[in-house]
Structures are given as structure tokens and as C-alpha cells.
């Protein structure tokens, strides 16, 4: 893995750590509300997470000692998993596509959504040719149908529009 000296500001900023700290505090408070046996482990873990998150916040801050925490706690960003730095708009768009895949499966069903999503993604986001996009969609449709519906005789979800019970049936 290549080493980049500078991680994006967004990644090294204090906010991810603050959000996790808030999450830990909420979980800790909820856990404390359970009976003794049920509360023991969650409260202990959430408590530990609060401490860890405080250190994470500290290492990202300009408070004295941040450098020491970084060295001993291993909070540096020298060996990152994701080296590229997409724009916010690009990320939002991409997450939108994923959420869209789910939404489409939920509404029109898995068998119909799979080829449509694949073809649409390849065409609209990937800017691939119409022929290639359609090919991908058809390929996926054939796979889904052949493996699940035909070979394993398994009926894939048909979507909220075509199933009784609505969301309750999930």
C-alpha cells in the first residue's frame, strides 16, 4: 500500500470521533436502564467506548498531549484503507444509488429491480454504451432467474406493489 502523508481534512477532523462519543454515551445511558444481568456487558462496553472515543477526540484536537495520544494509541492516518478522496457530491450520489437499489427491490421486487438497476447504473452513472448496459441487465436477469426461480424453485421478493402485507411482511 502506498503511503500518503496527508489525509483529507474531512477524515482527520474531530467530528467522526465526536459522533462516536455521542453514540457511546447514548448506548451507555440506554444500557444502564436494563436489569443488572442484562446491563452488565453493554454498560461495560459502552463505558469503555466512551473512554476510547474521548482519546480519539483528544488525538484529533489541538489540546496539549494530542501528539502523545496519537503515538501511543495508534491514531495516525499513515496507513489508510482508502487512498482516493472523492468529492462530497460524488459520495452522496453513490450512496444514493445504493439506497436506490434497495428502494427499487423493495417496491418492484428483486427479480425486476436487479436488471433495471444494473442497466441503469451502467448507463447513467457509468456512461457505458446502451448495448453494454442492456447486456449487463439481461445477464443479471438470466442469472437470477436461472439460479433462484428455476433451479432452486425459490420465489424472489416481488415488491411492495405486488405483495400483500406491506412492510409488515418483511
Amino acid at each position: 500500500m502506498k503511503e500518503t502523508p496527508q489525509a483529507p481534512r474531512m477524515v482527520t477532523s474531530i467530528w467522526p470521533a465526536v459522533l462516536l462519543l455521542a453514540f457511546a454515551v447514548v448506548m451507555f445511558l440506554i444500557a444502564r436502564g436494563y436489569s443488572a444481568t442484562s446491563a452488565r456487558f453493554p454498560a461495560m462496553v459502552a463505558g469503555a467506548m466512551i473512554v476510547l472515543a474521548v482519546f480519539d477526540v483528544w488525538s484529533r484536537s489541538k489540546i496539549p498531549g494530542a501528539q502523545v495520544v496519537e503515538t501511543f494509541g495508534g491514531t495516525g492516518f499513515r496507513q489508510r484503507e482508502m487512498m482516493h478522496n472523492p468529492t462530497f457530491a460524488n459520495q452522496a450520489e453513490c450512496l444514493g444509488w445504493i439506497a436506490g437499489a434497495f428502494a427499487m427491490m423493495a417496491t418492484v421486487g428483486i427479480l425486476a429491480a436487479s436488471p433495471i438497476f444494473c442497466a441503469a447504473y451502467a448507463r447513467l452513472r457509468g456512461k457505458l454504451t446502451l448495448a453494454v448496459s442492456a447486456g449487463v441487465g439481461i445477464g443479471v436477469l438470466i442469472f437470477q432467474f436461472a439460479v433462484f426461480e428455476w433451479a432452486l424453485n425459490y420465489e424472489l421478493y416481488r415488491g411492495l406493489f405486488f405483495t400483500k402485507g406491506g412492510v409488515n411482511a418483511w
Partner: protein, 506 residues
């Protein structure tokens, strides 16, 4: 009796019809293994209704074929796409994917195929050795040992995250908290469910892992664009052709201690119900990376980082049959489904399973053996074509993998809520990648958390509150405590300049 039965089972499998079922299982296993989100458990669960009309033995061949092949299939996507095909292949991505990006995918696949086949064989061989004492082995692993094993696993997390210890631990805490969701086994109280019935049984494992590994990785890949292999390495890869495969096979034999240790770790962890392949391959990887002389090259494309997890991942199938032959209880999700198939055929699995259903058990062992080898041979033959996956435009790879893995999540239990969970956790997983919180530590903690909690409470009740005293009275527990301490302090101890210390002492 054992060897005769085994020999007979081998002869029986050569029967035309049986071999057909076995090969069908291998192909299905490979396919389901390669596709992220579709794993061995899903394949077997889907096959249950199909096997209803089959002879029990043919059902065993089919199931064994699937079980033996999925783990190698999953390593292919781990290496080529940085996306584990099945959760246990997660550790393979650490070094397998960097190798692929360096144009050495052939090397990695060759090593993975060989380590898978040999690891599988070692696991099954160990199982055969253990069959006479399987009962004693299972009886000596009680709640105390389960608890300490989970602690050992958690300790291994702490030392395995190089350079991001704090964030690794935070991720582990999240994993534990997710694991505690649902109805508590001791009080019946539901925790963190927000009033949703769906969460009574806890956050389901397969959807969570699919989201965390497959969906999140696809988002990252989509944002990166292009194709998996770098432009500059692509030409290098073309020059290399796939000649690396042979080299990969040799590498496994060269690093035989890694193979052996991985296989043994896999067998042991496989024998512990509930831990499974993800923990086995992770522990194998981290122990190899920790003790190797060239540990700095791990994570950058060290072939040993492929051999270790893959050997463990396949050996765990043999191990997971130890509790099965001893008491008819499952050692893994796959063996649980396999026992379900037996139940469906009117066979009630129990402690006498090996006496009463020798044919089926040995049939399964043979099927696993043939499958482990068969899948690897097939994989090697097709390796050169498989590598082409890395050259496919991500705009095709991403939507296809996303839809297929979400479909896989659905078909396991037929619940759309699972698909929603996979999507949400997938987006969360991407944020973890983006903000550099390691996902694997979350997963290991998630898998271990529930077992850790319930076995701790069991020990507390069994020992009348004298937990430590009780543990120290059990030899295996003591060994595990020592192993945990060593694991935890090994990295620190390495930093101490021993030579200088001993020098000044003498």
C-alpha cells in the same frame, strides 16, 4: 471400523450418480462462494427443500460439495475485488488484494487454491484422528473455555490493528454493542431493539457481514472508478500472464509451517460451536503476521497472508464436525444446516450419530475431501479467466455485485428486512472505510460478543460467583488464559531490547 467405513465411502462416491451430486455441489459452492453475500450457509439453506426428495447419502454429497468449495470460491473475490466472497475470506483481502493490484493475482489464487485444498485435508485428517476422543474433547470444552476463547479472540484484535489501535478498539466496541442487541438469553429482556420485533433475535449475522464487507467495498470501488487493477500494473500483469499460479502453489509448500499452523487453528476454532470461519481465519492471519520475521510486509502483499487464513478457513470444516461426531451437535452454521438435512430425512442427530449413521457421516467427510481438492483444481484451471474480473469496468462490477449480494441476503431467510439491514450497514461500512475505522475488528467483536456474554454469565452461575477460581481449576482454561496474556503482551515484549538486558545481567 473407521478406516473401513472411510474406504467404503470413497468407493461409494465413485458411483456415477453420487459423483454427479458431488460435482453439482462443488460448482454451486464455487459460484455461491465467489459472489459476495451468497455463502455456504445460504447455499445449503436453499438446498434443504431440494434434498428432501434425495437419498440421504446423495444429500450428503451435495452438501459436502457445497461446504468444501465455498471457502475457496470466496477467496477469489477477496483477492480480485478486495471483497470477501464469504465472511471468513475477509482476512484474505489484507494481502491477497495488494498482490492482485501488483499484478500477482495468479500467485495469490494459486496459493489460495493450494492452501485451501491442503488445509481442508489437514482439517479432515485431524478430525479422523480425533474421532476416537471426540467425546472427551467436547466434554472438556465448557462454558469457561468458550468464554476464554472469545477473550483470546478479542485480545488478538487489539494487537492486530497496526497503526490504528484506538480506532480498531472503538470499532470492536461497536461490534460488541451490535452483538448484544436482541433478547438476552438470561433475562429474556430485549435490548437496543427500539421496539422492533425483528430485532428480538439480534442483528442477523449474514446481512450484517454482507453489508460491511460487500456493499461498503462496492461503494468504495464505485468512487474510485476505473477497474480494480491499476493502470500501471495492468500492463505489468499482461506481461506476467498468469504464470504466478505455479509459483503460488510452490509458495504454500515453501511456507509449510504457516499452512500447518493455519490448519490447526482452523480445526480447533471450527470445533467450537458459534465461532466459525471468520474468527478462525482472522486468528490464523494475525498469529502469522505477529510472529513472522517479515511482519512489516504484511498488508502489502505477503503471500503468507493469503496462505494462513485460507488454510484455516478450509480446515475449520473438519473441525466443525468434531462436536457433530461426538454428540450430533453442529460446530458451525454449515454443519447446523447439514444436520437439518439429516433431520429432514428422519435421522435424529445425537451422540450415537457415528454408530447409527456411519454411512452419512463418512459420506460427508469424503465429499468434503473430494470437494476441497476439486474446487481448487477447478479454480486453478480457470484462474487465468477469473483474473480478467479485475479488468472489468467497475461500472459493471459494482451494480452486479450489489444486486447479487442483496439477493443473497434475501434468500437466506426470505426477509426483506435483512436486505434493509445489509443496505444500512453497508453504508455505515463505507463510512468506516472513509474515516479509516477497521471493519474486521468490528466483525470479530460482533461474532464473539454474544458468546462472550452468555458464556461469562454461565460461568458466573456455575461457579457460584467464583469465576476466576473456577477457571483456574480447569487445565484448558489455564492454557487459554496464558495464551491470551502472551498474545496481548507479545508486541510490547518485542520492543524490549532483550539482548541488552541479558547482556547486562551476565
Amino acid at each position: 471400523m473407521g478406516l473401513d467405513a472411510l474406504f467404503e465411502a470413497f468407493l461409494a462416491v465413485l458411483n456415477g450418480g453420487s459423483l454427479l451430486f458431488l460435482m453439482a455441489g462443488v460448482l454451486l459452492g464455487l459460484t455461491f462462494g465467489v459472489i459476495p453475500g451468497l455463502g455456504g450457509t445460504t447455499a445449503l439453506a436453499l438446498l434443504i427443500p431440494v434434498t428432501y426428495t434425495l437419498e440421504p447419502l446423495d444429500a450428503m454429497y451435495l452438501a459436502g460439495g457445497v461446504m468444501g468449495a465455498t471457502s475457496f470460491g470466496g477467496s477469489i473475490s477477496a483477492i480480485l475485488l478486495n471483497t470477501p466472497g464469504t465472511a471468513p475470506n475477509a482476512a484474505t483481502t489484507f494481502d491477497g488484494y495488494p498482490l492482485a493490484r501488483q499484478g500477482k493475482a495468479g500467485l495469490a489464487i494459486g496459493a489460495s487454491a493450494t492452501a485451501s485444498a491442503l488445509g481442508g485435508l489437514i482439517g479432515l485428517f485431524t478430525l479422523l484422528l480425533f474421532i476416537p476422543v471426540a467425546r472427551e474433547v467436547v466434554l472438556s470444552f465448557g462454558s469457561s473455555e468458550f468464554f476464554l476463547l472469545t477473550i483470546l479472540g478479542l485480545a488478538a484484535i487489539a494487537v492486530s490493528v497496526k497503526g490504528k489501535l484506538l480506532r480498531g478498539l472503538i470499532a470492536a466496541c461497536i461490534g460488541l454493542l451490535l452483538a448484544f442487541t436482541g433478547a438476552n438469553q438470561f433475562t429474556g429482556e430485549t435490548r437496543f431493539t427500539g421496539g422492533m420485533n425483528y430485532l428480538w433475535d439480534g442483528i442477523p449475522l449474514v446481512p450484517a457481514l454482507t453489508g460491511l464487507f460487500a456493499i461498503s467495498q462496492m461503494i468504495e470501488l464505485a468512487l474510485k472508478g476505473g477497474s480494480v487493477a491499476d493502470e500501471e500494473t495492468r500492463s505489468a500483469a499482461e506481461n506476467m500472464k498468469i504464470t504466478g499460479v505455479g509459483e503460488g502453489i510452490l509458495a504454500v509448500f515453501k511456507h509449510w509451517p504457516v499452512l500447518l499452523r493455519g490448519s490447526l487453528i482452523g480445526t480447533v476454532i471450527g470445533a467450537i460451536p458459534g465461532l466459525g470461519g471468520t474468527v478462525a481465519s482472522f486468528l490464523s492471519y494475525s498469529s502469522t503476521a505477529q510472529t513472522a520475521k517479515d511482519r512489516d510486509t504484511f498488508g502489502k502483499g505477503n503471500i503468507k497472508g493469503v496462505i494462513a487464513p485460507e488454510a484455516a478457513n478450509n480446515a475449520k470444516d473438519g473441525g466443525s464436525l468434531i462436536p457433530t461426531v461426538a454428540f450430533g451437535i453442529p460446530g458451525s452454521a454449515e454443519t447446523a444446516v447439514f444436520l437439518g438435512i439429516l433431520v429432514l430425512h428422519g435421522i435424529e442427530p445425537g451422540p450415537q450419530i457415528l454408530l447409527q449413521n456411519e454411512r452419512e457421516i463418512y459420506g460427508l467427510i469424503v465429499a468434503l475431501t473430494v470437494s476441497a481438492i476439486g474446487a481448487s483444481v477447478l479454480g486453478l484451471i480457470f484462474a487465468r479467466f477469473l483474473v480478467l474480473i479485475t479488468r472489468i469496468d467497475v461500472n459493471i462490477v459494482v451494480p452486479v455485485v450489489v444486486t447479487l449480494s442483496l439477493t443473497g441476503v434475501y434468500v437466506l431467510e426470505g426477509r426483506m428486512a435483512d436486505v434493509a439491514v445489509a443496505t444500512i450497514i453497508g453504508i455505515f461500512g463505507y463510512l468506516m472505510i472513509r474515516f479509516d475505522y477497521p471493519r474486521l475488528t468490528l466483525v470479530i467483536a460482533f461474532v464473539l460478543g454474544e458468546i462472550a456474554e452468555r458464556s461469562y454469565h454461565q460461568v458466573r452461575l456455575i461457579s457460584d460467583g467464583n469465576v476466576l477460581e473456577y477457571m483456574l481449576g480447569r487445565p484448558i482454561s489455564v492454557i487459554l488464559i496464558v495464551a491470551t496474556i502472551v498474545t496481548f503482551f507479545l508486541p510490547a515484549m518485542r520492543k524490549i531490547p532483550w539482548r541488552r538486558l541479558t547482556g547486562s545481567a551476565s
